[in-house]
Amino acid sequence: MRPLSPQALREALRGLGQAYPRRQALLLEALHLAQAQWGWLGPQALEAVAQALGLPRAEVKGVATFYDLFEFKPPGRHMVQLCSSLSCMLQGAGALQEALRERLRLSPGHSSPDGRLSLKLTEGLGACDRAPVMMLDGELYGPLAEEEMMRLLEACR
């Protein structure tokens, strides 16, 4: 993938800049853009963000690591976010976690051995009425039965 240069990042952020009196306020958005580009935030991505905003690299890293949605190692090709909140646990999310572990060897915070899938447990996707829910590459599915989940994940290449 073509890396996002500090200049390109600055360009992408330019439209937003006027709303904020200080450049640091663009940091989360810059990290989102960098992650969308690279798939994760490695040293190169963090460096590009630091340069684009004129911030110390330690500051950029310190802020990025506070937030759950940023990735610091290369993820699998597809991102599975399974909700682990009480609403979902009441409706069988625990069994779904178990199925992922047993049938796909996929555990929270890790990628599947074939590099296809990454699993992240989330604290809620704002769809508790559809529990148990999963987000697959940004799309919501629920209420989700185990076999349907397996079918969706098998279809990911």
Partner: protein, 419 residues
């Protein structure tokens, strides 16, 4: 009955306007900013983000501070597990939020607004971007809005997954591009919010009520709901009911009405064990408390809180120790690490709950739980720690027998929480 959801059938500007949308803004712009604040005060609107603070008063505080510019922030972080009302509003009727924000900007003389949006909310992000563009094109945002002289625009600021960023001062830190750790209060955001300037932070549902108040008039609006806590309320119902969903009812409707009248009641053969009335941080109620009106003062008197109005229904297949464990795992993971009672305490509580649930606990563990919880409550930097401690203390009081049983053997449930 529908107020906030009146125009939720379609998210477009043309549909919104066909249902009377942006008429309240026109009305507001014919009033003075001070009159708008007075109208909101008169309505008795209390913030829907959890704390129930009177909205008109908050606006008046910010206005009383002469520093300029002033900022307006919509809190769309919606992190409280069980809650999905703001998502629904933003996806289905985004212009209601935008209209509420422009009216608030007029009242406050704010020139820049932000919507701090939960990072996981991809669909609401798209809906808001589309609505913002429509509103700009129609002249409801931008320079000299409808010839009033008001210049105001809104930016969506995406969060990135951190529950604590729903707390208003942590939100401000995060918006400024830092780790989302809460600030000491006072000074309050109304005086020193974003970049040290006066800032009003309001929940999405709070702001969505503003056009209704202007359009109906404060008196008519305040005839909806409880007398001392008026207005319509969006209740998010999840858990073990037949029809989980979002229900708009007058504030102060009872849990019984909500669960049995609207959400379809429980599954056949199941009995009610507990109801969490206001998101995971609100203490669970027992089946004997079903007639409590769901408003801020009534739930407080009942030893819980309205919080975000997220009702989670637990039937008799649920293990309360398991449910508390799931909650405590959440608090431990989401504790921001700033203060010791919360950072260390939630981890201790989780560990003790875990060994009870796995049948490795002892009789002393119940004493230990309440001891640790009492050392968090009232001693943590922000209400996250308090919420974790108090929900557990109340569960120990109200469901003590079930905790006792766990000191004598493993929980009989195969799954961790429910069967």
């Amino acid at each position: 009955m529908s107020w906030l959801l009146r125009a939720a059938a379609e998210p477009t500007l043309s549909y919104y306007q066909s249902q009377g949308g942006y008429e309240a803004l026109k009305k507001a712009l014919r009033m003075s900013p001070q009159e708008v604040v007075e109208e909101v005060k008169r309505s008795g609107l209390r913030g829907r983000g959890g704390a129930g603070f009177p909205t008109g008063m908050k606006w008046a505080f910010a206005k009383a501070d002469p520093k300029e510019p002033r900022y307006l922030v919509a809190n769309a972080d919606e992190g409280e597990p069980g809650t999905f009302k703001d998502r629904f509003l933003m996806e289905r009727t985004p212009h209601l939020l935008l209209e509420g924000m422009v009216i608030a900007a007029w009242a406050l003389a704010a020139r820049q607004g932000f919507i701090y949006l939960r990072g996981e909310y991809t669909a609401p992000y798209r809906a808001l971007q589309r609505a913002l563009q429509e509103a700009r094109q129609a002249g409801f945002l931008g320079r000299d809005i409808l010839g009033s002289g008001l210049d105001f625009d809104i930016l969506v600021h995406r969060g990135a997954g951190a529950y604590i960023c729903g707390e208003e001062t942590a939100l401000l830190e995060s918006l400024e591009g830092r780790r989302g750790q809460p600030r000491i209060k006072p000074p309050f955001p109304v005086n020193q919010g974003l970049w040290g300037q006066p800032t009003v932070v309001n929940n999405v549902e709070t702001l969505a009520n503003v056009p209704l108040i202007l359009q109906m008039g404060a008196e008519a609006w305040s005839r909806i709901g409880s007398r001392d806590c008026p207005g319509p309320k969006l209740y998010s119902v999840s858990g073990q009911v037949l029809r989980p969903g979002l229900y708009e009812l007058p504030m102060g409707s009872t849990l019984r009405e909500l669960i049995y009248g609207h959400a379809g009641g429980l599954r056949p053969g199941r009995a009610l064990k507990a109801v969490i009335p206001g998101g995971i941080s609100s203490p669970a109620l027992t089946p004997q408390q079903l007639d409590v009106p769901m408003d801020f003062p009534s739930l407080q008197r009942a030893g819980s809180m309205l919080g975000s109005g997220a009702v989670m229904v637990l039937d008799d297949t649920v293990c309360m120790v398991g449910a508390c464990l799931v909650a405590m795992e959440f608090f431990e993971r989401q504790s921001c690490g700033k203060c010791t009672p919360c950072r260390e305490g939630t981890g201790w509580l989780r560990a003790v709950l875990q060994r009870l649930e796995e049948g490795r606990g002892s009789a002393d563990d119940l004493e230990l739980l309440s001891d640790v919880a009492r050392n968090i409550a009232g001693k943590s930097f922000c209400p996250l720690g308090d919420g974790a401690a108090v929900m557990l203390l109340r569960a120990l009081e109200r469901f003590g027998e079930e905790f006792q049983k766990h000191t004598r053997g493993r929980c009989p449930l195969k799954d961790r929480v429910a069967s």
